[in-house]
Amino acid sequence: MSIRKSIKSFILRNYLFTDDDSALSDTESLVHAGIVDSTGILELIVHVEEAWGIQVLAEEMVPDNFDSVDRVVDFISRKQQILV
């Protein structure tokens, strides 16, 4: 499964409780749309760490890296390049 598909599925199932792909656009702000709160974002970060074997540093926990599907996908891709 691609990173995008996996991340989107995780958010849809855990925060919106649906499999309907159209319920969330890839650019939508997860915070402003009320999809994740402070504990939700931590669950997302833990999922990213566990599923892709990367470590999210404190300074990386910013909206630029986690506030939309697109941003999370970009972040994981960048981290994977560093790992390689």
Binding site: L16, D19, V31, D37, S38, L42, M61, V62
Partner: protein, 515 residues
Amino acid sequence: MDSSSTIVDNLRRSVERNPEGCAVSQSGFDLSYSKLWAQVMAVAGHLQGRGLACGDRVALVLKNSTAYIAAYYGALAAGGIVVALNASAKSPDLAQWIRHSGATWLFIDRDNDQSKTLLDCLDPRPCTVWVGASAATPTDCLQDFDAILAAAEMPTRSAPVGHDLASILYTSGTTGRPKGVLLRHANLLSNTNAIVDYLGLGRDDSSVTVLPFYYSYGNSVLNTHLSAGARISLADNLVYPQLLVQRLVDERSTGFAGVSSTYSLLLSRVRLADYDLSSLRYVTQAGGSMSPTLTQSLVAALPQCAIFVMYGQTEASARLCYLPPDRLLEKMGSVGVAVQDVRIEVRHDDGRKTNADEIGEVWARGPNVMVGYWRDPVATAATLQDDWLKTGDSGYQDQDGFLYLVGRRSDIIKAGAHRIHPADVERVIAEVPGVEEVAVVGVDDEVLGQAVKAFVVATPGVSLDLMGIRAHARSQLSSYKVPKYLELVASLPKTSSGKVRRGELINMGAPKHEA
């Protein structure tokens, strides 16, 4: 204490002492005490000019903002009773509270996605003030907050006094009778002054706050800081804890207020030792117990900081007890001693005082204790007895009089900063076709303290879609009420009279869900 004084007088005195000092900071914009006072007077003048009478209810459905603060103090200065409502609530809850309070005025954020459905179901509609960017033409009953500030009308009637009613804070949702805690100015003032005193707050203090003002704890942070002439800096939320800590550093904050989960979140992802928090002289914790392990982690992470563990209830304006920081390690697990002018007793079910170290119900008496529940004499009589507040909390006092809490006697779930009545969640889940029965309890949660868990019994022959149940709950409830865990069970444990044994459900093992 001057019996004629109010928290509006406290604010006015702060304005007189330091008019150009910063009262509120939001999104990089500083509002001075004199400018805040001008806004407060403009709101009060507008309300009085359009017929607000002393004791009329003014509902606020506003996120933390300078507008919230101006509307709150403005409504109080006009003689109104502020009904501060949860800005993240859904329209059925909001409508129920507004109807029950009889609010004739409503201040609401223009970007609140519930505003249209809320106003559509209110008849009669309260006079509504939109807060935030506005394109609509104001009418008699549809007004614009910025226009009110620009008009700068001055109030013409005398200000309220201590005995006047000031605030209704709702502690429950739509199921059953809404419980609106009714407070006088004198209640708020006495508690505000007591907190200012033990925290040692002054005009050199500043605090970044994430607590919503529509809750008792956040309301007390607001009132104490503005009474002390201190500075409040508004932060959106705790979603990115590292950004919050950076803000504490950048603003040289002297204080911070949080609930247990706030500190759990901060400590789990941020190495506080990497930040220069030398200006932070104290932090406070209330809104549910904090484990000794978490307390010790906080002490280790903030060695320069006085840590105030506190206990209170909305029914007590906010605060009942605090643990002096110099006794924190010695009395680990305690919520401390009564705040100024408050008495705490632990009693048996028959009302007799317990001995030291003996568990009973916590009772409290003092000038901070509410008048009662708005329009609910039955609930009031059950909670207030001979001027004593029955808190519903179980605990004991040690030989030195320090209070330790051991549990709640009510079913209220405390998840993070939120209070959740199981019945509110049960009503919504029961709407799902195929749900025969449901019971909701709070289960232990490492971060939130408690998390919402629903036990669901399916109608025979029906296969329930658990994710569908959560989706329905999300569509009908505020997000913090949506069960984190769902479990299908064959039946619910009940007493012989048919009442669900919630304690048994809580003890039924680790939380789990299959959604």
